[in-house]
Symmetry: C2
Subunit: 703 residues, 2 copies
């Protein structure tokens, strides 16, 4: 990938005296220090630079070719590159897969030629690459972008949508945001977000990587790269609703759609999710600039307005961040500058002190007090730009804060030009500035929650536990073509995989049912299992709370009648339940084998509360996954119930992931509900669904 970012020599194929073919030459002249060769058979020179009629005529080696010719001519260019030995080609032209079948055919031809010649393709249908600090503008964007004042920084961006990168950069300049590399990857025919992520994770000039993506075909690799990264990664995913169309045979798979699986798998990999463009950049900037210890997020709010202070605390609380409890020493320090009538507190309302001593004395004094406080991690300072000479020396302040191991951020209001200058100075000193309090708090929350993962080895702890060496056919009671296992077969396999399941027994007569129930002890549950039927309740095939022999007889006869000649009947111990959870396994197109965990019961179907992780998963991951649901309070001893034994639940999820992963024939596993009694989880109902031939293709991660 290095040659895409730092080629020693470049050829511009389709260089021209007009339009974009000319703009790119200007852009390269702006800062690129390597050799540039121009290629266009219609010119002998452009602006005095000689023009080659073909890339093969260039007498020297070429690291990178940038191609701007119309799509139909591109395959020929790639053939020439292959012959010339140019192994990196960035195709900026449009007219490929994005315009329909004809373009897709051209793109496929390009891919084939490149693969044969060992060429890596960036694009097509993209804006190329910009390296702001390096002044590399490998793009045909208008020079107005950098003329307007781009600011070099350490946030790198990867955007799938072509046009956005140009508008993006103008906007970043206007918003005074420092940018490193911007990669527009277009149709991703070869180089994709994973290739670029891998490169940028090793790039010494990049602190944070932010992505706008409409698809993540190699989602599993992306999550694994993110999981190994110590750099923060922010992802904005467009097109969230498309996944809703997934066929929903199991709860697990129907719950995975609508962005939920992607969101929680990426979160588990340490990725910060964004939901809008500017917000994505704002999050990235906070993650880049607030590297000091913010893990506890204990925040001191210094404000010129009591109201804004109150609102900030409301928002901190809403984001579950901590309003710092200032030490006695800090409070005494503040009291010395406050008016005598005013008690010191957090938020630190500076207005009365400003009236008494002037703005500079108020800000300097209060900041000095708070910087000493060991119970403060973050200073969130409200500031009005342009009221008088600027009172805050940002460089000195950043220095002191960094020395004290504290992070710092500003909410800024004020006059136009003064605000712009303040933002520039803050950017230069690595201090994030925001225009909205809520954005400030949102970003702080992302920083406080960020933990580099570094532990997704995908080797599973405790793997000494042998997986059951079973022939799946052994469990396979029905005709060979059946995909959906009944709950009894499903639970037998799960039990072999180390998952606790309810006590139950198949019976073939009423007499046997009575005998089994007597041994088990009343009350029992009687269930009719029909081939291929997942939802038994709707068919009245479940009788619960059978308290004696006559009840059992009634239920047996009713179920037998409903079943006719098919299926089989199960006697199950009726267990007492404190609360219901669920768990599952599925193979996702983008992320491969995944485990699901969530709240069970009817209300949870109404407002699903489920999370996902790559499978197989480690015990530490499983323990963390369990705490990711919104309703986690239920697990912690709600209303006098015993808390969930999280280790048991984690073992269940680890075993579920190993089992699903180990049998490639299994497409989905549904355990709904997993009931919890006295803290211990146990599967009451389960369904295993095998792959069909159609769904049997391996997930696309495997290249």
């Amino acid at each position: 990938m290095r040659h895409f970012f730092n080629p020693s020599s470049m050829a511009v194929v389709g260089a021209s005296k007009h339009k974009i073919g000319h703009q790119i030459i200007q852009n390269l002249l702006y800062g690129y220090k390597g050799v540039v060769y121009l290629v266009n058979p219609h010119y002998s020179e452009i602006d005095g630079t000689p023009c080659f009629s073909s890339i093969e005529e260039i007498p020297n080696p070429v690291d990178l070719a940038i191609v701007l010719v119309p799509a139909p001519a591109v395959p020929g260019i790639l053939e020439a590159c292959g012959r010339k030995g140019v192994l990196r080609v960035m195709i900026l032209s449009a007219g490929f897969a994005e315009v329909g079948d004809q373009g897709r055919e051209i793109q496929d031809r390009c891919t084939a030629i490149a693969k044969k010649a060992g060429i890596r393709i960036w694009g097509p249908n993209c804006m190329g690459m910009v390296d702001v600090p390096g002044k590399h503008f490998f793009t045909f964007m208008r020079p107005s972008i950098y003329e307007d004042g781009l600011i070099p920084g350490r946030i790198s961006l990867v955007v799938q949508s072509g046009m956005l990168s140009g508008a993006f950069l103008a906007e970043m300049g206007r918003r005074t945001i420092g940018i490193g590399k911007v990669c527009s990857i277009g149709n991703k025919s070869d180089v994709d977000e994973c290739d670029i992520l891998e490169y940028l994770l090793g790039d010494a000039d990049t602190d944070v990587v932010a992505f706008y993506l409409e698809s993540i075909p190699r989602g599993r690799l992306f999550a694994e790269l993110a999981g190994r990264s110590t750099k923060p990664i922010v992802v904005l995913k467009g097109g969230k609703s498309e996944a809703g169309a997934r066929a929903a045979l199991s709860h697990t798979s129907s719950l995975s759609g609508n962005f939920r699986l992607l969101e929680s798998v990426l979160k588990m990999s340490g990725v910060t999710l964004a939901n809008d463009f500017n917000q994505m950049i704002d999050l990235a900037r906070a993650l880049a600039m607030m590297r000091e210890s913010t893990s506890q997020g204990r925040t001191a709010v210094l404000t010129f307005s009591g109201g804004a202070g109150i609102l900030t605390c409301d928002l901190l609380e809403r984001y579950q961040l901590k309003v710092a409890r200032l030490t006695e020493k800090t409070l005494a320090c503040l009291s010395r500058i406050f008016p005598s009538w005013m008690p010191a507190a957090n938020p630190v309302d500076l207005f009365p002190t400003m009236e008494l001593r002037g703005r500079a004395a108020a800000y300097h004094g209060a900041i000095a007090c708070v910087l000493e406080d060991p119970d403060v991690d973050v200073l969130l300072i409200h500031h009005v730009a342009g009221l008088d000479d600027d009172v805050i020396d940002l460089a000195a302040l950043k220095n002191k804060a960094a020395g004290a191991g504290k992070s710092m951020m500003f909410w800024l209001v004020g006059r136009q030009e003064a605000s712009r200058l303040f933002r520039h100075e803050a950017q230069a000193n690595g201090i994030p500035v925001y225009e909205e309090i809520s954005r400030t708090v949102e970003c702080l929350s992302a920083v406080a929650r960020f933990r580099p993962r570094k532990r997704f080895g995908r080797g599973v702890e405790g793997s000494s536990l042998p997986l059951p060496a079973v022939d799946l056919k052994e469990f396979f009671s029905y005709a060979a073509g059946e995909r959906i296992w009944d709950e009894h077969d499903s639970k037998r396999l799960l039990a072999r995989g180390g998952i606790p399941v309810v006590e139950e027994k198949l019976v073939s007569s009423l007499a046997e049912a009575k005998e089994v129930a007597r041994d088990m002890g009343f009350p029992v549950v009687l269930k009719g299992l029909l081939p291929g039927v997942v939802h038994k309740t709707e068919l009245d095939l479940i009788h619960m709370g059978i308290s004696g022999r006559s009840d059992l007889e009634d239920a047996y006869l009713k179920i037998s009648e409903r079943m006719g000649e098919r299926g089989r009947i199960l006697v199950q111990r009726q267990v007492k339940i404190d609360f219901e959870l669920m768990a599952g396994f599925l193979r996702d197109d983008q992320f491969g084998p995944c485990v699901m965990f969530g709240l069970g019961g009817t209300l949870s179907e109404l407002q699903p509360d489920v999370v996902f992780a790559l499978a197989p998963l480690e015990r530490t991951e499983a323990l963390e996954l369990v705490t990711q649901i919104r309703g986690k309070r239920l697990l912690e001893g709600f209303r006098g119930m015993a808390p969930l034994k999280k280790e048991e639940m984690a073992d269940l999820l680890v075993n579920l992931g190993r089992l699903g992963d180990a049998y490639p024939q299994i497409d989905q596993i549904d355990m709904n509900p997993v009931v919890v009694r006295r803290g211990s989880p146990m599967a009451i109902d389960a369904t295993i669904i095998l792959k069909t031939m159609r769904s049997g293709q391996e997930y696309r991660n495997e290249r």
Copy 2:
């Protein structure tokens, strides 16, 4: 209130040659056209204007006095105003209730003097009032604010926090937002948000009123005013967490804290809730500018970027707005300007057309097509400012859109100066412009959901139903001091009020219990009722699913044993349950009698889903309240269950509100659960809690 906003003559008490006493004179000179008298015993003139030593020396009538003297001198000034007959006084000075007991004492003295003299006080501890279009600057804010370019508009602001109004105005100028009146109401010792709301609702120059408030002591009046308003109202409430401290005897009261009651009561009154300052203004601006039919919110997205279009649709979907389905005619119209390979769709991606025909042709052509579409309510247009000459004539566009009955909004990115000019032109033409897509969609959502209420008469429909003429003592089985009624007494009263309750009967012996159960039919529930005990489950006083005589005997003996000599025993019909709801009544300090409605059951306690409305409430309000919960899908026939009969639920809530309102002795009523079977709601358990003397004070609305 008129004299506060448009006085014919004013006196500045505390006018000075320095600091704020001088700044206010400059501010008045800037635009106020009435007579200004200066008062300060230390000067004979200021800047050539004569200075009176006391307000009483002014020879002519004075409509409004603005007071800037130190707090201790203010009572004397008010006495003088009384003698002079100045009946409107705006006190800008600080040093009152906000500084503690001493200041509070001065403020109380001022209130007493004013009340006696018939003076209305605005403030103290405030920034006064600014009328931007009228150029009235009744404040000591620095002239830099208006020098920077304030923009007259039709959004009026009311802010409780003093300092914010100044920073606010600078920020509004910077963000190119047109403002009408800004009222800083400080300590609200007399004039409060209700007075000002009432005035601004009648103000012909105000289209929308936005509030930042830390308290709403007359919350009920505020909600009622809002409920009668045809103008949109936006409220940002600071200090949301304080209410959490409320003592929580009943679910209803514990669920009302934490902003929930305020939020849903205001929403039911048609108020739009904000959570940050800029967002509040952005919401207000959208509500002011998008007056055309947006009720269906069917949105056409016109974009320069496929990615931004996708993201916008994601967000529209998340806010439950509709991506318009363009008619065949519109699609054909678009196809005529699109490249031949490109299918027309919504979002309308203009980039390929821009490449083909230029930006102006692409925008004009596409907008013209979409404006003709009868299935489009809103045009959401993405635009880059400063790429070439501006291609959009906003005045003509607004004209055409308004003519077609469509609303319009812009997401704008681009170059600094070009963006500023675009925003100014858009503001002048009444078109809202936003910097973030998510904000655009959030504002559109507020506009689409806004319905003027105009129907809070607080007279209750169908009130021909007579309220039970009961002596509460009749229901009052325990000692006279008991506040908490047991469920049987509670349900007897509720039944008299027209609320469906479960069949049940008190029994005094096992024999009687058996007889009652036999008549009722097994299974039954047996409950032990103990004085003052609300949570019976925790004490094991409930036995459910008693299926026969021997079960009953067991349960009866166990409960008797647990109860000892106290309490009484209840036999209740065991009803089948589709799902659980809850309802309640309480008297809120700010909003008075309110009804609560929400989801019941354990999970709902985990993630409460409840809403509130002022009581008594009308049937139409009750019907609407029922649809306000997040989990409303449960009510609409979830998983094959019969849908809730909303009319029956509405009647229950109407009757509950009337009952609670009619008996001032009742503090709280809890009905948890209200079970639903085949669509019909019925109270299974209920608790009525009477007022104590301490909590017996009437809510503060009654002046």
